[in-house]
Symmetry: none
Subunit: 209 residues, 4 copies
């Protein structure tokens, strides 16, 4: 009977659209996983292809180059960081909650986008120059926002007047970034526990006594 066979071109956009997007995501996922495991330079397109279940050359149907794949992985790796921090700063939460928000927001992406974040953190330096620049600007903006947070805490009189805001900023970012390699293998280290411990350390370490 007419209509008894599924017609691929039915529906509004057709299934190939949704599938195509999904398949592309799978490819980027595969790249992220291999980059995360071996580092960009140590990763072979061969292995990315194997993980995707495809011939090596077929990868180039999904991205134009290994560089471009790294770029996309890094883009997804940074996505949201700045926005999250801006939201925290703009909120009317009390300062300690804001610091907690900074840390929570920095650790949260490890839950679902660990490979992306990992690659971004370790391999962004080998990005082709224009992408590296753009991402460098984002990073600096993020650092500036975080530092601003601590400066405000000092201005409010909550944090010690002699707090070295720049160093504390770098310490916080550093400790959070350092979690990427061990998160998942460190036993009993949930995002929540890490967040609690880091936030407490940083807040108490900054307060006026």
């Amino acid at each position: 009977l007419p209509g008894s066979f599924p017609r691929p071109s039915a529906g509004s956009v057709g299934p190939s659209r949704k599938t195509a997007k999904k398949r592309h995501d799978e490819a980027v996922d595969a790249a992220a996983a291999v980059f995360a495991e071996r580092g960009y330079a140590g990763a072979s397109t061969q292995e990315i292809a194997r993980r995707l279940g495809v011939q090596q050359g077929s990868l180039y149907y999904y991205f134009p180059s290994k560089d471009a794949a790294l770029e996309e992985v890094c883009r997804r790796g940074v996505a949201g960081f700045v926005q999250n921090l801006e939201a925290v700063l703009a909120s009317d939460l009390p300062m300690p909650a804001k610091v907690r928000g900074l840390i929570a927001g920095h650790l949260e992406p490890m839950r679902t986008r660990r490979n992306y974040v990992h690659v971004f953190l370790r391999d962004r330096r080998v990005l082709p120059t224009p992408a590296r620049r753009k991402i460098g600007r984002l990073s600096r903006r993020y650092e500036r926002l975080a530092e601003q947070l601590f400066r405000r805490g000092v201005a409010e009189g909550l944090f010690r007047a002699d707090l070295d805001c720049r160093m504390v900023t770098l310490a916080v970012i550093g400790m959070c970034n350092a979690a990427v390699p061990w998160y998942g293998s460190e036993p009993d280290a949930s995002i929540e526990r890490i967040t609690d411990a880091f936030a407490r350390l940083v807040i108490d370490g900054s307060l006026v006594k």
Copy 2:
């Protein structure tokens, strides 16, 4: 007859001995520099040779393989960390000074062996298995010692009873390691200033209120 052949090592201990050692160090230095800049996988023996001012093939006079060079660089990168921490623990300094000692000892090597530490931190995972195991043991030992330090602080009643020693340990190590990439380019960030800021943050953040 013994002595009838010219013996290269004859004549005092010979300048060739001293020179040989020095030259070898230069080779390891060159490898460390290139590994630090490009990462192990991204580094070419070509470039190491160029930096040493030698033909590519001649490198193999200094190390048997690229792997072996990495191994030596990493060995020098970890050297002293554990001993330093053991000395701190064994000392009769007050607890806050001990924490400061941990941090200072962790940051100190960046001054003179930055490339070595950098390579060790980033590329130890690609070491050939036996070396990786050995270095893994050292790392774990180091972490255990650091954690012990904080536990003692809790036991002494100086640090809060609910301090998450494991997380704080990872935070401290993380913030110190994270300094490697930016130390040198971050303006006005001397080892002393970093040490001060990190130590104050960690100590105050851990104290009983």
Copy 3:
């Protein structure tokens, strides 16, 4: 029911027929253009497809292979050369006019089929063997006819008795073929002017003094 489905080829013989032929010609044109610009080996089906405004895979609707496309381009590139020369030989024009006819007939196709001729001249050697053989025969036939023309001129007593007909033939064909790359960029070089100059040179150069 018959007729209840739209039949694409229905309606007279259909404009689709004419369109199909035209579209096929466009495809061959695109191939000729890219082959002319990059050479057969340097040309990619990708670029042919782009020029035709079609996806790469769709090209294979027009020709079964890149080789086959070259074959068709070359076929169109040689078409008419032999016939033209046969007509000239068969005519009752005086010898000088015949020589002029040879040259004019050789240059003429550059006006409208330049890409085809260019590809034929440069890339016929990489044709698949059967096609190459066939075209080789045509070429040799053409050369023989041209040589015959000069021999007749000698026999008629118009051209010097010691004219090296073979060499002159090759000279004439060579100078005409050589025009393909520069025709179009050489300023003020119309087909007419080239024909005039070449014909005068060859005729005067061959005459009995």
Copy 4:
């Protein structure tokens, strides 16, 4: 006896110098041969290596890239053309001998450097831009000198006043270049015979009657 064995390190510079140069020449020769046979784009480094009797990767000991090999081949292919023509122009030979000199000088290199000339003529267009520019300037200079020759012949009153010097120049260069593909397979076509026939045609074709 001392000296009865060839001592490689004897002589002033050592044999490796001479050998190295020779070996490099062999590599360029192999490249020229394969480029001549298949065209630049159709040639594989694989085949060049095979002809040189060496592994594919080892080619890169001799040139940094396929492009660079083409460049060197082309450089050798053009070498001497301009100088030869300048010498002819500067000589005090009578005009007909000068025209003959132009043709002879153009054909001569086919004897010993046929592959080089062939590649230069066919593939110079795909040279990397800077090399292409440089060679383009040389070519234009060559054409200008040749045209000058004919102009002088007209000025001397030896060649017809209405001689189309530009077209004649292109004709001469074209017929000579066209000889490259068939020289060697055309029976009984020695350089001398070709030179004689071409020179006679061109000179007689240009003379005042």
